[in-house]
């Protein structure tokens, strides 16, 4: 049970990171969406968010394509979100081949795979199909959830 506990501790610490990533995803995707709506669709985009000091990168959202759809939705292809600690160290990475961000409902979802891993790659969650509900901060992974925690996996728990 200790091992389970330890594993879950890593997992849950990782989900705190996920909250940051997904919050960033929503905000950054919205920014991309605004740009895309004004000039068609965006390709090979990268959006960077900085810490308040404006020196250190907080997160990087990138994708190969962002397509606006009716109803305030935005389809993002080859999504990749990287979250960094304030010292510049990679904290975690979220990837998904495709993601639909609903600017009205404040949700991000996909029927495809999702991968979430920490900076050193020793903690990883994968699954098929996900839904992130921003308003209630609730992430659902619908199918085939696999969590792998390798020995020595560490997480920077600084706020």
């Amino acid at each position: 049970m200790e091992l389970l506990h330890r594993a879950l501790r890593h997992l849950t610490t990782g989900t705190h990171r996920a909250r940051g990533w997904l919050t960033g995803l929503v905000a950054l995707a919205a920014a991309v969406g605004l740009r895309a709506q004004s000039g068609g669709h965006a390709t090979d985009f990268t959006t960077t968010e900085y810490y308040p000091d404006q020196k250190h990168v907080k997160s990087v959202l990138s994708g190969t394509e962002a397509l606006p759809e009716p109803g305030g939705r935005l389809v993002i292809k080859q999504l990749k979100l990287e979250q960094f600690d304030s010292d510049g160290k990679l904290a975690c990475v979220v990837t998904a081949p495709e993601c639909i961000y609903d600017t009205v409902a404040g949700t991000a979802n996909s029927a495809g795979p999702l991968e979430l891993r920490n900076g050193d790659g020793k903690f990883q969650v994968t699954g098929e199909g996900f839904l992130w509900r921003q308003t209630i901060q609730f992430l659902t992974i619908s199918n085939q959830v696999h969590t792998v925690i390798e020995n020595g996996a560490t997480f920077n728990t600084r706020p």
């Binding site: 049970m1 200790e2 091992l3 389970l4 506990h5 330890r6 594993a7 879950l8 501790r9 997992l11 849950t12 610490t13 989900t15 705190h16 996920a18 909250r19 020793k122 969650v125 699954g127 209630i136 901060q137 609730f138 992430l139 659902t140 992974i141 619908s142 199918n143 085939q144 959830v145 696999h146 969590t147 792998v148 925690i149 390798e150 020995n151 728990t157 600084r158 706020p159």
Partner: protein, 224 residues
């Protein structure tokens, strides 16, 4: 509820110690050399399920459907597992595994143990500087190993004190056809099914690692 028996299972202690200790891994075999043993990388822990939910507002992680925890020292399966999400830098202090809970683990002697129940609850709390860490198995809980089956209305594993408490303890241990305790060295296999000796209302006391009960109290003299 009244605790009818306090059972100290040394065989569990090894597993507890192993579980509580962050072992660097088994040393590698360097047969025929004087090279120092190098630690082998510890295999990863895996948690699989059909679905998972992370309620970050309520600080909960919820796994649903065919939940399996696969660890080198333990395997757990259930249908639903809920863990409280700790604050940053904190630790998980509450885990509930529900429905068809099965825990398989190996002690430090290499003996396997099979625990089952409807629910397992892990609690970690600190009161007045004292740490309380328990795993409580309820819903027809039992622990089975090569020596027999131990059951109770409730089985509580006090990790801090390395003890296991049973409520309404019940021991069923196996004997082979010669009446000797069945073990891996027994000349007579357990098949056909072993004779089961059932002990009810086991008196309060302590048992050794074999799971055998303490000596039965002397029967009272016959009344004239």
């Amino acid at each position: 509820m009244k605790i009818s028996g306090l059972i100290v299972l040394v065989l569990f202690n090894g597993a507890l110690l192993r579980a509580q200790t962050n072992l660097p891994g088994e040393p590698s075999a360097a047969a025929g050399t004087n090279a120092p043993a190098l630690p082998m990388p510890r295999p990863p822990t895996k948690v699989d399920s059909d679905t998972a939910e992370f309620d970050l507002a309520r600080h909960e992680a919820i796994y649903h459907g065919h939940v399996r925890v696969d660890d080198p020292q333990m395997k757990l399966s259930c249908e639903r597992l809920v863990a409280d999400l700790p604050a940053a830098g904190g630790r998980v202090n509450h885990i509930v595994a529900d429905t068809n809970v099965v825990i398989d683990f190996e002690d430090n002697k290499g003996q396997t143990h099979h625990a089952t129940g409807d629910r397992a609850v892990y609690v970690y709390e600190v009161h007045d500087g004292a740490t309380n860490e328990t795993v409580t198995l309820t819903g027809h809980p039992q622990i089975e190993d090569a020596d027999g089956v131990q059951t109770g209305d409730l089985i509580r594993w006090d990790r801090g004190n390395d003890k296991i408490y049973f409520e309404n303890y019940n021991l069923i241990y196996r004997k082979n056809l010669n009446g000797a305790m069945a073990d891996t060295h027994s000349p007579v296999p357990i098949i056909p099914p072993p004779v089961m000796v059932k002990t009810n209302d086991f008196p309060p006391g302590t048992v050794e690692s074999t799971g055998q009960p303490a000596p039965a109290p002397t029967p009272p003299p016959p009344q004239p």
